[in-house]
């Protein structure tokens, strides 16, 4: 575990009566892109704030680069690039000032790279933060997050509310960070097709609990979407071990299931069905099948 970049053990957090994190344990190895997914309020931001030392672990422990981010912020924060959903930047600064200000904070700040990024993002040193569009603001915040070539890049909903061009720049920054000497990225997102595109590993948080943690390839290859047909209509789907969610009616039903494909097919055939279609589900489909049932219990979507 010592060469892990991030180690979270049995982390729990309660805000008033609301459980924000419940016994979350995970480790993030070096050189990986780690995708954190979950609904609003699932605990993603709370988890990221613990890694930054913005919240103290009340129960359980958090280690980043082997250090406690609350007790030893210098050892941790100088090596992290962070981009929040709010993209907090000082409004009164010009971008040139923002770059100088940020350079003073990070010992490994790379001025050449910062100017390269500025150029790539079609920004200029004279622009004031206050006057930036939403996409420009996100790019400026991204520049600050990556121009010191951080060992760990933390992105909290980096793409939310952005146009496709700005989202591409963020994905490109993730790809480049990992391609460069195997640095590590943790990002949370609602855009599951983007997570599916760049993540090595995925963690699904649901109401503060880690309900699934796996390599993305394994997750995708362990889940199957089967459409099956019965000789006659039936009021409900059959009981098949590994079935996570069903849709359909009458004679035709579709099931998202978890397990060995051949076993699942045999179980469907034993139940008297024929398989009419089979494909690999997307991360979004897996996510919904894992979280939807409890969502309907809550009476919301």
């Amino acid at each position: 575990m010592t060469d892990q970049i991030v180690v979270v053990q049995h982390l729990s957090r309660v805000f008033g009566l609301r459980v924000a994190l419940a016994d979350v344990s995970l480790g993030i190895g070096p050189g990986l892109v780690y995708g954190l997914v979950g609904e609003n309020g699932a605990g993603k931001t709370t988890l990221i704030k613990h890694l930054l030392g913005l919240l103290r672990a009340e129960s359980g422990s958090v280690r980043v680069f082997g250090a406690d981010p609350v007790a030893d912020p210098v050892a941790v924060l100088g090596r992290i690039g962070y981009l929040s959903e709010e993209r907090d930047l000082p409004d009164w600064m010009r971008l040139g000032e923002l770059i100088r200000y940020s350079a003073a904070f990070y010992p490994k700040w790379d001025d050449v790279f910062a100017l390269e990024l500025l150029d790539m993002f079609e920004l200029s040193v004279a622009q004031k933060v206050r006057t930036l569009s939403r996409g420009q603001r996100a790019r400026a915040a991204l520049l600050v997050a990556i121009a010191h070539r951080p060992d760990l890049l933390l992105l909290d909903e980096p793409s939310s509310g952005l146009d496709p061009g700005a989202r591409q720049d963020i994905l490109a920054a993730i790809v480049r960070t990992v391609a460069d000497e195997g640095r590590t990225v943790l990002f949370s997102s609602h855009l599951l097709h983007e997570v599916q595109r760049v993540a090595d590993r995925v963690a699904i948080l649901h109401r503060g609990r880690l309900i699934l943690e796996s390599s993305l390839d394994e997750l995708l290859s362990r889940h199957h979407l089967l459409t099956i047909r019965f000789p006659s209509a039936r009021p409900s789907p059959p009981a098949i071990e590994g079935a996570l969610s069903w849709t359909g009616e009458a004679a035709e039903w579709a099931c998202l299931c978890n397990g060995e494909l051949e076993e699942l097919k045999r179980a469907a055939e034993l139940a008297g069905a024929i398989i009419v279609e089979q494909r690999a589900p997307t991360l979004e489909e897996v996510f919904l099948s894992r979280t939807r049932r409890s969502a309907s219990e809550r009476g919301s979507i």
């Binding site: 050189g31 990986l32 892109v33 591409q168 994905l171 490109a172 790809v175 480049r176 990992v178 391609a179 097709h193 599916q196 595109r197 760049v198 993540a199 090595d200 993305l216 390839d217 995708l220 290859s221 889940h223 024929i274 009419v276 494909r279 690999a280 589900p281 997307t282 991360l283 489909e285 897996v286």
Partner: protein
């Protein structure tokens, strides 16, 4: 080398890359000795994880489709074509299996399917010649 990644189904991206590169070799768009882009370049071009591209290249190398020369890069291997053609056949067989299963459900026999395939090939050929 132009590749397309689909996020509309859950086929892992490394598998999509492996398949598309083999198809490009089978169809002659990539030739023996051609150099593939570096891992980093392809990852940045497609906006996918570099580890995924590296895995696709490793897979292709272990199957003998590409060979990597230390420091020089990754190249289409000498005997890549027959391997790639086998892959091409496998993909066609998958599609044929699907077609035959559909036909069975609709109670259309194999001879009728073959006749339809031939008719279809002729009409699409004609419209291409127009």
């Amino acid at each position: 080398m132009q590749l397309r990644i689909s996020d509309r189904d859950g086929i892992p991206i490394y598998a999509q890359l492996v398949r598309q590169i083999k198809l490009q070799i089978a169809s002659g768009r990539l030739r023996v000795g051609d150099q593939l882009p570096s891992v980093r370049k392809l990852a940045e071009q497609l906006l996918v994880n570099p580890n995924t591209v590296a895995r696709a290249y490793r897979e292709l190398e272990s199957e003998g489709v590409v060979s990597s020369r230390q420091g020089a890069g990754v190249f289409v291997a000498e005997d890549a074509s027959p391997l790639a053609r086998r892959e091409q056949n496998r993909i066609l067989l998958d599609r044929i299996d699907m077609l035959l299963a559909e036909a069975r459900h609709m109670k259309v026999d194999v001879d009728a399917v073959i006749k339809l395939v031939r008719q279809r090939a002729e009409t699409t050929q004609e419209s291409r010649n127009d």
